[in-house]
Amino acid sequence: MEENTNLTAERSLEIITEQIEKSRQAVSKDTGQWLFVSGLITMGMAVVAALLNYFTVYTGGALPGFWGHLLWFVLPLIIWVVMKFINRGRAHVPENLIGTLVRKTWWTVFTFAIVYTIFAAVLNRIMICYFEIEVYNRYQMHVTPFLILLLAVGVSITGHILKKRKLVWFGTLGGLLIFILYKTGLIARIIWGFFPMPTYVKLSMITPCEYIFLFALIGLTIPGWMLKKADPLTPLRGNKDSQVSVSGEEMVNGK
């Protein structure tokens, strides 16, 4: 962009619109990068957790087939470290109203997710240790469906803020689809049912990793990739036919 002082009114307006829109796109791309990386790491973590649970079912100990789930607590830290690594040396996307709204939305989601998960884990553990199994079965706090719906809401709200309809749809449909799949246990009933009993038991221990994997793919990775790869803003170049016939010099002098 050169120092051109002979601007028409339309060109001036185009420059202002273009730069404001670029600010929105910078936030979109940054959010897309976060969603994409978070989705990929969550998918990887789901695979690792599932494998750990699968292979520790019959090993005994205090938490057979459960060790993998402890990994979820380090997931936010891993995502943060990886994003720091990816963004090193890159120009920092400045804070604007849209970026602030997105950031605060995800802080709210993150806070609810962490508090609920810790509360549910502690309460479920107390019920297992000190109460009858019927009490646990009745009052058990399910973490996965809550987290999936919470993340889906986060993705959808982000889509509304960034005016990206696909993000809204992926968040809403992905969240509801995986929530229904989880509540009906369709994956376990249809796919795991084909395996013999010992394998079926081991496979049932990987739940809810398969649902988390699916949501991370549909609700985070794919929409994140789409945001990240969105076409850069086409430079708005003035249509000479529609320009006002007042020269830049005249405009500055107010003639």
Partner: protein
């Protein structure tokens, strides 16, 4: 037909782009402004100096780790000048649209 005069400092492609960028962000780093405007570092520095000398933006030189980092922030004077520029621009567009 007379129009409202436009601020000559803002009525330049790159300076207007910088001010438009800063009006929608609280503050921005030099590499970000360079990336978004597509300007060369030298040209951008000159234009930022002009805006800074007029009191439209504040330039803060700091460090990001070991690297020097220049942060530009729009001032209230700059915001008012930008608003006045947009208002003046409207008069041309209204007449042009008739």
């Amino acid at each position: 037909m007379s129009y409202q005069p436009l601020d000559p400092l803002l009525h330049a492609e790159l300076r207007l782009a910088v001010m438009s960028l800063l009006i929608s962000n609280v503050e921005a780093e030099f590499p970000y402004i360079k990336e978004q405007t597509g300007a060369t570092a030298g040209n951008l520095s000159v234009q930022i100096d002009k805006l800074s000398a007029a009191g439209y933006i504040k330039v803060k030189k700091t460090f990001k780790g070991k690297r020097p980092c220049t942060i530009c922030r729009i001032t209230s004077k700059g915001q008012k000048a930008f608003e006045a520029y947009v208002q003046a621009l409207k008069s041309y567009l209204e007449v042009g649209g008739e």
